[in-house]
C-alpha cells in the first residue's frame, strides 16, 4: 500500500550505462517491474550499455569476472580465458529458474508491455552505429536533451 503522505511514482526513465550482465539486468528488471505496477517506463541505453540493444551483441552479454570484488574470486583467476563465460552460464541458469528471461526476450517483453527503448545519440555517433545495428524494439536514437524532455515529470534512475 502506498504511504498516504507520498505521491505514488507514475513514471521512471532508466539509464543503462554498463554492458556487463550485472550492469544490464538491474535496469531491465526495474523497467519491467515498473510496467507491471502500471508505472510508465522508458530505458535509455548509453555507452557500453548499448551492447544490450545491439542486435549482434545482445545475446552475448557476460558477467565481469575481473575487477568485480563481489564475484569473490581472485582477479587473476577471473582473467583465465573462459572464466567469464563459465560464470555467465552459471548465472543464466539461476536466472532461468527465477523466470528472468534472456536480454533479447526481456527487451521484447518490456517493449510489448508499453516500455520505450532509446539509444543515446552521442554514443551511437562515437561508435559509428546506425538504427540498423539495433534490435527492432528500439524506438529511436535520441540526444540527452530529448531524453530529459521525455523524462519530464518522472524519476530518473541511473544504472
Amino acid at each position: 500500500m502506498t504511504d498516504n503522505n507520498h505521491q505514488p511514482i507514475e513514471k521512471v526513465s532508466i539509464v543503462v550505462s554498463k554492458g556487463s550482465l550485472e550492469g544490464v539486468y538491474p535496469g531491465l528488471i526495474m523497467a519491467n517491474g515498473a510496467r507491471m505496477e502500471g508505472i510508465d517506463a522508458s530505458l535509455f541505453f548509453t555507452f557500453f550499455g548499448l551492447d544490450a540493444i545491439i542486435d549482434k551483441r545482445m545475446d552475448k552479454i557476460k558477467v565481469a569476472t575481473v575487477g568485480n570484488p563481489a564475484m569473490h574470486i581472485p582477479t587473476l583467476l577471473g582473467a583465465i580465458p573462459g572464466m567469464s563465460s563459465f560464470a555467465t552460464s552459471k548465472m543464466k541458469k539461476e536466472m532461468e529458474t527465477l523466470d528472468i528471461p534472456p536480454v533479447r526476450e526481456f527487451l521484447e517483453m518490456i517493449h510489448d508491455a508499453g516500455g520505450d527503448l532509446y539509444a543515446c545519440k552521442a554514443t551511437v555517433d562515437m561508435f559509428h552505429l546506425t538504427k540498423k545495428d539495433f534490435c527492432p524494439q528500439v524506438d529511436d536514437i535520441i540526444s540527452v536533451g530529448q531524453f530529459y524532455e521525455k523524462a519530464a515529470g518522472g524519476q530518473i534512475i541511473f544504472t
Binding site: I29, M36, E37, G38, D99, D112
Partner: protein, 105 residues
C-alpha cells in the same frame, strides 16, 4: 437516494485490497472485483488468465510471473496489458481472489 453496493464490498480484504479469504471468491465476485479495477467486462480472454492464475496459485502458492503467464496461457504480453491495463499481474491476481503476487518478474 439508493446507493448500490456490491456483495464484494462487504467481504474481508487484506492490506492491498485483495480478498482476505480465497474461499469467498465466486465468478460473480470476480466481476465486481474487476469493476473496482475499472474493467467493465470480463471476456473469455480475461477468464483464461484468471483461471490460469488460480490454478498456478493453488499448485505453487504464488501467482505466476508475467513471463510464465504469457508462455503458458497463450495470452501474449501486449494483449495481457490491454486486458488488464495498469498492472496485469497485480490486477489479474486481485480479480482471481488471490493475494498480490510476490515475484519481481
Amino acid at each position: 437516494m439508493v446507493v448500490a453496493t456490491s456483495p464484494a464490498m462487504t467481504l474481508a480484504r487484506d492490506a492491498d485490497g485483495n480478498l482476505a479469504n480465497r474461499a469467498d471468491w465466486t465468478k460473480e465476485i470476480a466481476v465486481q472485483l474487476a469493476m473496482e479495477e475499472g474493467i467493465t467486462e470480463l471476456t473469455d480472454r480475461h477468464w483464461l488468465v484468471i483461471t490460469y492464475m488460480k490454478e498456478q496459485f493453488e499448485a505453487k502458492g504464488d501467482a505466476p510471473s508475467i513471463r510464465k503467464l504469457t508462455k503458458e496461457s497463450g495470452v501474449e504480453t501486449k494483449e495481457l496489458y490491454a486486458l488488464f491495463p495498469k498492472g496485469p499481474a497485480k490486477k489479474a491476481a486481485k480479480i482471481a481472489g488471490l493475494p498480490k503476487p510476490k515475484g519481481c518478474i
